[in-house]
Symmetry: C2
Subunit: 245 residues, 2 copies
Amino acid sequence: MKIDPSKPADLSAQIAAAIRDAIIGGDLIVDERLPSEAELADHFNVSRPTVREALKRLAAQSLIRTQRGASGGAFVNRLSFEDAYAQQITTSTLLLSMNAVSFDTACEARFALERACAPLSAQRRSADHLATMRAEIHRQQQPGLTDEAFCASDVAVHRALVDGAGNPVLSYQLAGAVEAMQPLMNMITFSARSREEIVAMHTELADAIEAGDGPTADAVLLRLEDYTRTLARDVMAARAARASS
Amino acid sequence: MKIDPSKPADLSAQIAAAIRDAIIGGDLIVDERLPSEAELADHFNVSRPTVREALKRLAAQSLIRTQRGASGGAFVNRLSFEDAYAQQITTSTLLLSMNAVSFDTACEARFALERACAPLSAQRRSADHLATMRAEIHRQQQPGLTDEAFCASDVAVHRALVDGAGNPVLSYQLAGAVEAMQPLMNMITFSARSREEIVAMHTELADAIEAGDGPTADAVLLRLEDYTRTLARDVMAARAARASS
DNA sequence: AGACTTTTAAATGTCAGACAAATAAAATCT
DNA sequence: AGATTTTATTTGTCTGACATTTAAAAGTCT
């Protein structure tokens, strides 16, 4: 583990970077125990609070976990897909909300990625994935459903589609794109009419997936993308017009 | 901002979560200044070091930045695409290295996502993106090129392809998938023969992109995927055979 | 001897108070 | 008025201490 140049004033960041590099570089193996805070403080010639700040940075990225007690300490964490999903969703949500990424751009990205999954999902989806899609589509036809519940169900359908591809890396990549858009989606699927259209396309999608027909699934997604983007444009335009009145 | 239940013992994590929720929920706007550490400590009824650990957690995720001095403090950070890329790459690298994700799975995901970009890139790429691809392909034909340099150039070609789609969300999503695989790719493109094949396909790809021909670009990527995965399988098999001897 | 209980030690979690360094605003001087 | 100095605020860091948790060691009883 390297030592820090004494010049700049952000020791905890430097220490965090040193340990992070050691983990990524393979010098520290999964479940390996790091030296105690006191030992690290001694090693880097800093105080324990400074070491602790560095460790908290790493903990925030799920790179380490800590355990109290006699044989406790900081351990290199095996980054689970769940942790990765959560980080991905947080990051994506912030990117969309803070960087003036238009709904249109986000939507294009989302459907592009989903269409990449469609042929794989058509080929490999389990009965379980298909059943989930069917169940969610059925729920979407309930009259009393709130907008939030409808959108959550919408996400669940697409999630099942992606998971059906059986590639956890793809599922991870898409988690952010799909989930981060949900708040935006909530604003545009308000009318009974649009729900009807969406349910119809979901049904077609499920049929294609059931039949193992990738190209048709792709075509449905393309139409769904087009419909969603047009709907969003109209909603935004209407909102803008109302705002200026 | 909510208060923490006094029960569990991880105050800094709770405080970090409270502030994070405030940022994601829009209660704290970009560039808004948070209360000083002393004020936060008073607010949450904890000590300053505890507050600092919470702030370092947020800083590790690029959610805040801090500034020393009279009118300094912690400010809500506008998450830049660059920061998001970096996090994405770190997370993806760890996922691949620690979760026994096979090269094959990662490769499938990568090409699926790239193929999603291909039609968009064929339609919208700038002259700059195309020039970058051509230049990198030219470099790949230099005889003295190291394996690392060849692979870096390979990544640059695919990067230019993805960026050519003009969708920053897609670029962000793909950054992890492509860059995280580079170390693995280094191991399989060692022979002159494979370089030759790859350069040929890169050239076809650039031609298709230049002609605005999405379907052909897609077909080339499909062949490149197949070639890469086959090559990787052979290399792995050879390595396994050598190891058992 | 073997199983259960108690003690102990090591580690993280938290706190308090202090000083250093940076920085912008206020006060002062030319 | 403009330039310079002072001052106040805030983060960065250190020292030292105590609380809490937890596993292992020591001790005790059957």
